[in-house]
Symmetry: C2
Subunit: 346 residues, 2 copies
DNA sequence: TGAGTGATGGCAATCGATTGCGCAAGAGCC
DNA sequence: GGCTCTTGCGCAATCGATTGCCATCACTCA
């Protein structure tokens, strides 16, 4: 353990009391010096700071948070599906989490990542109740928004990524899923495609809205309802691949697929390719999310962008406002159709 | 706020002392009852448990951890690149984090997600020193493994995902990058492709090994060194796309691309497609990681699988062993070439 | 000279759970 | 009847930082 010269073999201090001893002052003075209180002289503060530096001392966060009743930690819960725990690997979710992480870091907050909903009965799942976090960001309302609504009713610092659904009394940040669906529907019409397959589990609130928006646009233009088909399925690529394959195996009657997420769209495109069905010539494909890889598909994927960067920021800002005693406001992010090759001119 | 009948308007207890009052016992007894100590009678325990249930009481984690000196929290740091903070959205990393999250949850640990290296000077970056975590998992050694090595020297509970490099005294879990590279090299030879482009920043330890393995295989078979080209570049799709495009713009002299990650490979494939260069007929493409989407590319991507599920588990097991006072052992995960269309028979 | 003022800094209570030690009551034994 | 065990539970110290309140000191001003 040949330590280099950078760190003179000085006392290693683990607690404030030790620093106080070294500096010959009281603990309270050290605490104030570190907190930047103006009640300690510059001279004393400098002395303390240099001792802290030398000794590698760090304030014990758990002791501090016990005393201050603040953890400076936010829990982030990925909760969109109760059955399928693979969601975190959906690039859309990791993009959101990444931007939340950045926004939190900027504000000096830690990020506690959870894979279990706090309202399940799993012991210790509720970080808020056990004082491990000051607030919670829930990503997704899931197929059944009831438990979330009940959970949020009794907590104060909860913000949700999702849709504006009735019966909620928590603030929501999200994109306009209905509009997103409409944009897709209109675009399909402009391409003269009206035999559309929708891929996704419409029992999810957000996805249901995307579906409805699209159908509204199609039918309002007089497209026959019965030319569209909805394939309800779990939220994973394998299911999307299989569903697409079995639908198109005997040839393509439909001329477009609208998938509830890019992940599903990509799997669908692969299924079509394997059947030698051309995209977009025979069947156009549109996804949702605009994940980073969407533009690198061949053909590049047409999709509805969800601005995860803005979303993460809005979630965090809202939550911090709430924590500071303010009021959260719902945020609807702009929604934009990104037209790429997979659904452009035939 | 019309509460339903499930929760009779019973006392809300926030602390153990309140539970103790309600039960007519001492705090210590409550604590023991909750901890499952055999020193309280079943009768007392049952009474306490039902009170806890009714009142919705949850042990205050920060008070407990102050007393027990354990946080039951692990910090996970994504640190592969100092300059590029976008890594978390690389599906490979989110897959690893997801599997770490699962393994930690199974063991009752929380996961603190960090985007800043604990050895930077950013205030509060060091969760270990400030007692916010019991251990740290570092994902990636980065281009410069020195700071990590120095950091790990003075800490006890550190586990790293990465490569077996000299000068480290921390335990490492990772796949055999050299072998991975060799598998790729041999496969390329078997396809009679020896004018290979390597895409990636070989200053990253792991990527350097992949590169070296591939080159070893190629040259050992007599392939001329000067037929291979190494394009060093940041770790993002855009760079990969551009590099590939400008290299192949004037036609394809090379007949294969080996990319350091699937993300880069996918971007490269897109660049080739945009130049009307056929994959695999004209140029074969091989990636690394086998992310979930790799098999859904068109053509499906040949790649070297890194078993993120096993990796996450091994990281967590190792770290928990360390925390319990045991010794960590290096783990080299099996490495496997997954041959798909993007590089199979011409 | 004495009261008033401002700048520093210390004392001790506090946050909430854990745990070593001690005590009391009842059981078992000779 | 006296003794030792066992079982069940309470007392109080402890983890480490924060903060309201008080003490001290050096000046200033009247």
């Amino acid at each position: 353990m040949s330590s280099n010269g950078a760190q003179p073999a000085s006392k290693q201090a683990r607690t404030m009391a030790e620093i106080a001893d070294l500096a010959g002052v009281a603990e309270s003075t050290v605490s104030r010096a570190l907190a930047g209180s103006r009640r300690v002289s510059e001279e004393t503060r400098a002395r303390i700071l240099s001792l802290v530096e030398e000794s590698g001392y760090r304030i014990n966060a758990r002791a501090r948070s016990l005393r201050t009743q603040k953890t400076r930690t936010i829990e982030v819960v990925i909760a969109i599906s109760e059955s399928n725990r693979q969601h975190f690997s959906d690039p859309f979710f990791s993009q959101i989490v990444a931007s939340i992480a950045d926004a939190l870091a900027e504000n000096g907050y830690d990020l506690l990542l959870s894979r279990a909903c706090p309202w399940t009965d799993i012991m210790g799942a509720d970080a808020l109740a056990s004082n491990r976090a000051d607030g919670v960001i829930i990503i997704g309302q899931g197929r059944n928004p009831e438990p979330l609504a009940r959970y949020a009713e009794t907590r104060k610092n909860v913000i949700v990524w999702g849709a504006d659904i009735p019966g909620r009394d928590y603030a929501v940040v999200g994109s306009d899923n209905l509009l997103g669906g409409q944009l897709v529907g209109r675009h399909l019409l402009s391409q003269e495609r009206n035999r559309v397959v929708f891929l996704g589990d419409i029992r999810h609130v957000e996805i249901g809205l995307r579906h409805r928006g699209c159908m509204m646009a199609l039918t309002s233009a007089g497209a026959a309802q019965d030319q569209t088909l909805t394939l309800s399925m779990p939220f994973d690529s394998a299911s999307a691949y299989q569903a697409t394959q079995s639908l198109f195996r005997s040839g393509a009657w439909h001329d477009a697929i609208f998938a509830a997420s890019d992940l599903l769209a990509i799997a669908a495109m692969q299924a079509l390719a394997d059947l030698n069905i051309r995209v977009p010539e025979d069947v156009a494909v549109i996804g949702y999310d605009d994940i980073a890889l969407a533009s690198y598909m061949t053909p590049a994927l047409t999709t509805v962008r969800q601005d995860t960067a803005a979303g993460g920021r809005a979630l965090v800002e809202n939550l911090l406002t709430l924590i500071e005693g303010g009021t959260a406001r719902d945020v609807v992010l702009p929604t934009e159709l990104i037209v790429r090759r997979s659904c452009s001119a035939k």
